[in-house]
């Protein structure tokens, strides 16, 4: 796995202009926008950037060659999850530091515990995002994977809006909302962590299955 990670990090570092652009965007957004949004945006942006290493592996029969190296298919999958998660977490930490530094520059007092807790939600979003994107892109390739994701998201949104427009809310919705209102934030956090971990385990399993059955 170390060799694959070395390859991906070197590929990412080769695109210095993109990295510089990324830092500039972070600074501009940090100066002008809401803190939480900036943390989320930078975290996901960096993760998408690290996902682009899949395009390099796809291009010029890259997969064909990589699979002749001393690498097992499941190791390739694990390496991608590690890389994209690590890139997202690093960006998340960078954006938090940026948030506090720019807050100090602008003279805004931030509560570190509150900001940190709020920002932790984005780590869950990051993982859920990767859990969806990685199997799709391994299965269909970078371009098709993206199109399928957009079409699926659009389809779900369209179906949901049609249902909501045509019918009254089902009888179980109101009690559910009441129950959720009474639930403590700690339970929400634990449920969020459990769902994220479960989704990640399912996603890794699917990705390994996709890679194991791929022919090059």
């Amino acid at each position: 796995m170390a060799g694959l990670l070395e390859k991906d990090v070197r590929l990412l570092l080769r695109r210095k202009q993109t990295l510089i652009l990324f830092v500039v965007i972070s600074l501009v957004m940090g100066m002008s926008m809401d803190g939480a949004f900036v943390v989320g945006y930078i975290t996901i942006l960096c993760s998408v950037y690290s996902l682009s290493t899949l395009s390099f592996d796809e291009a010029e029969n890259g997969f064909l060659f990589l699979m002749t190296l001393p690498v097992e298919r499941k190791t390739y999958v694990y390496a991608k999850y590690v890389l994209c998660t690590a890139a997202g977490v690093l960006a998340w930490m960078f954006s938090l530091v940026l948030l506090f530094v720019l807050g100090a520059v602008k003279g805004i007092t931030l509560n570190p515990a509150e900001e940190l807790l709020g920002a932790t939600v984005f780590i869950m979003f990051l993982l859920l995002f990767l859990d969806l994107m990685l199997p799709l892109q391994l299965k269909f390739g970078m371009e098709k994977g993206r199109i399928i994701l957009f079409v699926a998201a659009g389809g779900i949104a369209a179906i949901a809006s049609v249902i909501l427009m045509q019918t009254d809310a089902p009888s179980w919705v109101a009690p559910l909302v009441e129950t959720l209102d009474r639930t403590s934030p700690a339970v929400f956090a634990l449920a969020g962590i459990a769902i994220t971990l479960l989704a990640t385990a399912v996603s890794v399993f699917c990705s390994v299955h996709i890679m194991e059955n791929k022919e090059f």
Partner: protein
């Protein structure tokens, strides 16, 4: 080192059914026209595609179940497949260092320098010849027991081809246990390096012979209609109609030289074999 037993791979418009064996210490050539099944065979040996039948074993392990440790003993150079063109030789040395325990970065970089491959330039800026040399150098960089080379000299000028063939000869002479499986369209390359040759046509092995035997015993007989009538046909493998009469392929050159002194006999070359065995009439 490699055992392919009744390998079957079916595609919509192509069907591969072959058996072959590559023992240790040999250089084996795989030849055939485009679409004959060479790449499919190599992909099966590397576990990149799943066979529909039969078995493919590399170092005694089923190809599709090879572990990372097994693959360390393989050196592979495929035509048009390598590390991303964004990377440089320097990057590749660092990546290989983390992948192969036996990788010698200094020796690799030294050989790259000898072959005039710049270490800090992106591979995408390399010429075809430079890329081909790099692919072979990568395959040979970690003391692999078995090299699998798919068209390593394709599209190269004579000098670059000779460089690569010299590199392969040096590699095999360093350790007599090492083996090479090589495909090429350039038959003179194979004649100069291979111990034996497998010829594939339409997904089947149509010839397996030692290279020395091909060069020493195979021949083309050029005969007119009259000579053809008198010619002993028992050692004729294939016949092709020509404007002057017939060209006949035999694997008993000596017999015809002794018994038919007036017949024009040309030494058999691999190119002739391909043309005759895939086009002539039996």
């Amino acid at each position: 080192m490699i055992t392919v037993k009744n390998l079957v791979k079916n595609y919509e418009d192509f069907n591969l059914e072959i058996s072959m064996e590559i023992p240790s210490g040999t250089v084996t050539g795989l030849i055939g026209k485009n679409g004959a099944g060479k790449s499919t065979t190599i992909k099966s040996i590397l576990g990149l595609i799943k066979p529909d039948g039969g078995e493919v074993k590399v170092f005694g392990t089923e190809a599709s179940k090879m572990k990372a440790g097994d693959k360390e003993a393989l050196g592979v150079a495929l035509s048009d497949a390598c590390f991303s063109g964004e990377l440089a030789v320097d990057d590749i040395a660092k990546i290989l260092k983390k992948m192969y325990r036996a990788f010698d970065a200094d020796a690799f970089l030294k050989k790259c320098k000898q072959m005039k491959l710049p270490k800090d330039k992106s591979i995408k800026a390399f010429s075809t010849g430079m890329k081909a040399k790099l692919r072979v150098l990568i395959a040979m960089s970690h003391k692999a027991k078995l090299l699998i080379l798919d068209e390593p000299t394709a599209g190269l000028d004579v000098e670059a081809r000779m460089d690569i063939l010299d590199m392969l000869r040096d590699y095999i002479s360093e350790d007599e246990e090492r083996s090479i499986l090589i495909t090429s369209h350039i038959s003179s390359d194979l004649e100069g390096i291979c111990d034996d040759i497998y010829m594939i046509h339409d997904g089947r092995v149509i010839l397996h012979e030692d290279t020395d035997t091909i060069l020493a015993q195979y021949a083309l007989l050029k005969v007119d209609e009259h000579q053809m009538e008198k010619l002993d046909q028992q050692y004729i493998l294939k016949t092709k109609k020509e404007a002057f009469g017939y060209t006949c392929l035999t694997n008993q050159k000596q017999y015809y030289m002794e018994n038919y002194p007036d017949v024009v006999i040309e030494n058999g070359r691999i190119d002739d074999l391909i043309l005759m065995l895939t086009g002539g009439k039996r």
